[in-house]
């Protein structure tokens, strides 16, 4: 049973456009929701994270929107650039010594 469902699998966006990736979770014990960015041949890098006490968090061009009642969260990349082309993973974690549970990833391509 997949605990974190991520969509779409792949996304093509024009340069300057908005990229939107969505995730839904099932476990109501999750209380930490990070997004990771992975370039080919590299490890995942923490991009931005949110806790359920806020509905939105913004860092530069990256924004997480969080809907606790719907058990959904999304990543918005404003003014998308070719350098943003990478695979993006959402994840979720409960408190304590529990692991991150990852979505299956979204391959983003930003074309000029």
């Amino acid at each position: 049973q997949q605990q974190v469902k991520q969509s779409p699998q792949s996304l093509i966006v024009q340069k300057g456009g908005i990229s939107i990736i969505n995730c839904a979770y099932e476990n109501t014990a999750f209380d930490y929701f990070p997004w990771y960015q992975q370039f080919p041949g590299k490890g995942p890098a923490l991009l931005i994270a949110i806790r359920p006490d806020v509905s939105e968090k913004k860092e530069g061009r990256f924004t997480i929107s969080f809907n606790k009642s719907a058990k959904q969260f999304s990543l918005h990349i404003m003014d998308s650039q070719p350098g943003d082309s990478a695979t993006y993973f959402c994840a979720a974690k409960a408190s304590g010594n529990t692991p991150l549970v990852f979505g299956k990833g979204t391959r983003l391509s930003v074309i000029a």
């Binding site: 990070p34 990771y36 590299k42 994270a49 010594n97 990852f102 299956k104 990833g105």
Partner: protein, 111 residues
């Protein structure tokens, strides 16, 4: 300064061999992890150690044995390698605030 480092970056070996991957973190974190990323890019937790103690073992075959000599190191030893073990293995460490930092990965190819 590399926060989480792994060696080797690439590992090519024959079926049946035994191999080890090393991981070190210089972030002062208490918790370290091993993840496996398969050919479809799916990331799955394998093990987690907190202060040298095993706290998570996600139904990984016992051919895989993690060892933590101190809280800055978490090594992964794999016995009797099989074709299905081919993947990228990532080490990670986390702060008390849950931020996890990943190493560069070790691409294991079993022939």
């Amino acid at each position: 300064d590399t926060a989480v480092s792994q060696t080797p970056k690439y590992l090519v070996t024959q079926m049946g061999n035994d191999k080890s991957i090393k991981c070190e973190q210089n972030l002062g974190h208490d918790t370290m992890y091993w993840y496996k990323q398969d050919s479809k890019k799916f990331l799955k937790i394998m093990f987690s150690y907190n202060n040298k103690e095993l706290i998570i073992n996600e139904t990984v075959p016992n051919r895989f044995s993690p060892k933590s000599p101190d809280k800055a190191h978490l090594n992964l030893h794999i016995n009797s390698l099989e074709l299905g073990d081919s993947a990228v293995y990532f080490c990670a460490s986390s702060s008390a605030e849950n931020e996890q930092f990943f190493g560069p990965g070790t691409r294991l190819t079993v022939l």
